[in-house]
Symmetry: C2
Subunit: 212 residues, 2 copies
């Protein structure tokens, strides 16, 4: 059952310390793209504006990235693989117990939603991707859904959880986490760790883990 | 306790049939603005483009709306007041029972998230509003949060629910609903009514209503 055999994690890969989120290392071009996309959206940002922010010429920028969509997909993939590898590390740390596994994974996801809220918010721009890239990106995102659903299903099968519809419950759990960037910077007064703790409690209640 | 005395619902106001969502009646200008904002985002849309879609001149458009931001705020306010009045009607229909009240309100919100997914998705653009308009819009949105929190608090006080943190649980419940537009059109195979039913079950579990 362990996710260590999951093909989304390379065997022998170094697991990040999933509770520690240093600022994400981005190239100057991707960093400027993130700023610009966050401030004015994908369609509201020109390649010229990104080049201006970085201090390079437009051709120099095209040397590294095919086009504006290439910048967005690069950011989305970096961001999603980061959260996916952290979530897998958190899951492994759960030692096979569904309650600890789900708690850890929700904690990892919420830490990322609060500490990297701008990157997380960029997911909303994925609807502007071309059909092909959207499909590719969706496949990466499905990794998180697959991991959480697996835990919910195993916990339900073992009697740790009480869930009627694991697939929909998984989507609901991820949805409550995904909405955090919308309010956290504007209204959040709690530390990322405190928010994570609260969401772990709510998630355990949602899967009926406290009613055992 | 009844929300009938809530000042967000005018006394004697005609309550909409909250389970029936006819296509929202928008003026041609707002309808074209919604299309354009949805397709290319707020910053990716020009007033000229909206005027072109409607088939009017730019000055004619400015006759009705102050500027591009005025179009976005008009859409956001229409959309949010619509869901707020439906949620209040759904709440009233609950006859004072916390379980029925919460079930109805979640149903009303999910129906809106699925049947009016594009309008609902527009909320993501609210971060581009000027500080003043963002404040005004947030006040309207708070109405929904206030209503749900009131139900969660009353249900907890009366022993119908088992919730540790009503405020955060309310945000989590709304968050799981708000994320629906992100996947519903791309992957949804269930009817809006079926999705609503599932989310009602998940919400009741989240507030510990089934563990009574």
């Amino acid at each position: 059952m362990g996710s260590s055999t999951d093909d989304t994690v390379a065997e022998g890969a170094v697991m990040p310390d999933w509770r520690t989120l240093e600022p994400m290392e981005l190239t100057p071009i991707l960093s400027a793209s993130l700023d610009a996309f966050y401030e004015t959206g994908f369609h509201g940002t020109s390649v010229r504006e990104i080049a201006r922010r970085v201090g390079v010429t437009v051709p120099a920028l095209y040397y590294h990235h095919e086009n504006k969509e290439g910048l967005l997909i690069a950011l989305l993939e970096l961001s999603t693989s980061d959260v996916l590898s952290r979530a897998h590390a958190a899951d492994e740390d759960g030692g096979g117990d569904p309650v600890r596994r789900l708690s850890n994974v929700i904690e990892a996801i919420v830490l990322r939603m609060t500490l990297r809220a701008r990157l997380a918010a960029l997911e909303g721009e994925s609807r502007y991707l071309s059909p092909e890239n959207r499909q590719r990106y969706r496949a990466v995102r499905k990794g998180i859904e697959k991991l959480v659903r697996e835990i919910v299903e195993e916990g339900t099968a073992s009697g740790s959880f009480d869930v009627d519809d694991p697939a929909e419950t998984t989507r609901a759990l991820l949805g409550m986490c995904q909405s955090i960037p919308r309010w956290y910077h504007a209204e959040g007064t709690l530390s990322p760790q405190a928010v994570a703790k609260k969401y772990v409690d709510i998630a355990l209640k949602t899967v009926g883990a406290d009613a055992r």
